[in-house]
């Protein structure tokens, strides 16, 4: 299989731009793993993905991992799954906990940054840190995705280079994880927005 055979029937304007693009993804859980799979399928040239966690059984309800990957670092399991779909993508994975210091170092070359953390405090840290170091780079975050239904309440709020996808109000109930369908809507909107912004920046 050649690259041109694999990437047939692609958008002649957008696809070459996506091939040249580098997207950073902070977190490889319910949001990050699904965003990564979507961007890999679309033909993004390179993904830089970081996550400190390992795959657990409870993740399989919403994250892009398989039963036989339980116990593996999420970034390694995700790289395996992405390569099964798109063997041509360049992947840079980091099994570590992001903080104010390494965010600047790891994501220097990204064209678009995706926030895919689970806790509100980590989301806030990333937004404050990334916006300070890379004020001219788009940052696509997620906030408010718990539960099911209410698809129509999920929207995108924009402030300069910061985009927030979600309903900005749904709280997780204690002991209950996000649910696959609604978190996938948010992940898909983050990925779709990233694809749109890459084209917009180059046109």
């Amino acid at each position: 299989m050649t690259l041109s055979e694999y990437f047939c029937e692609r958008d002649p304007i957008a696809f070459p731009l996506w091939q040249k693009a580098v997207v950073g993804i902070a977190g490889a859980g319910g949001l990050g793993s699904n965003v990564a799979m979507l961007l890999a399928r679309a033909g993004i040239g390179k993904l830089i993905i970081s996550d400190f966690d390992i795959v657990s059984l409870s993740n399989l309800g919403r994250q892009a991992f398989n039963l036989d990957q339980v116990g593996l670092p999420k970034v390694e399991a995700l790289a395996q799954n992405i390569r099964k779909v798109n063997p041509f993508i360049e992947l840079e994975i980091h099994k570590l906990c992001l903080d104010a210091d390494n965010i600047q170092e790891l994501f220097q070359e990204v064209d678009i940054m995706i926030e895919a953390f689970d806790t509100a405090s980590a989301k806030t840290m990333l937004i404050e840190c990334f916006s300070q170091h890379f004020p001219d780079t788009d940052l696509i975050c997620a906030s408010g995705l718990a539960g099911y239904g209410k698809s129509e309440e999920i929207r995108i709020v924009r402030a300069g280079k910061l985009f927030v996808v979600g309903d900005q109000c749904s709280q997780l109930s204690p002991g209950i994880s996000p649910i696959s369908a609604r978190i996938m809507i948010v992940a898909a909107m983050q990925a779709n927005l990233a694809l749109e912004r890459i084209v917009w920046k180059n046109s």
Binding site: S121, I127, C141, A142, S143, V157, A159, L162, Q168
Partner: protein, 68 residues
């Protein structure tokens, strides 16, 4: 120039020396995890009490909720 600012699309009166914290109090935004932008620029949490808002500014207050 009229003395006002916009907070998440709502027009509110602006006063000289008004800080980000004053604006959050005005709107009863007590949520712990927020990101505040003034005219597109992020204000760090540590600076809410010392950052003053210019007249006519546009504030966006984003509520960050766990889940991902």
């Amino acid at each position: 120039m009229e003395k006002q600012l916009t907070i998440n699309g709502h027009i509110r009166p602006w006063t000289e020396g008004m800080t980000v914290q004053d604006a959050l109090d005005l709107m009863n935004y007590t949520f712990i995890m927020l990101v505040v932008k003034i005219n597109g620029e992020v204000v760090l949490r540590a600076d809410y009490g010392s950052t003053t808002i210019p007249n006519g500014a546009e504030l966006l207050v984003i509520h960050l909720i766990s889940g991902g």
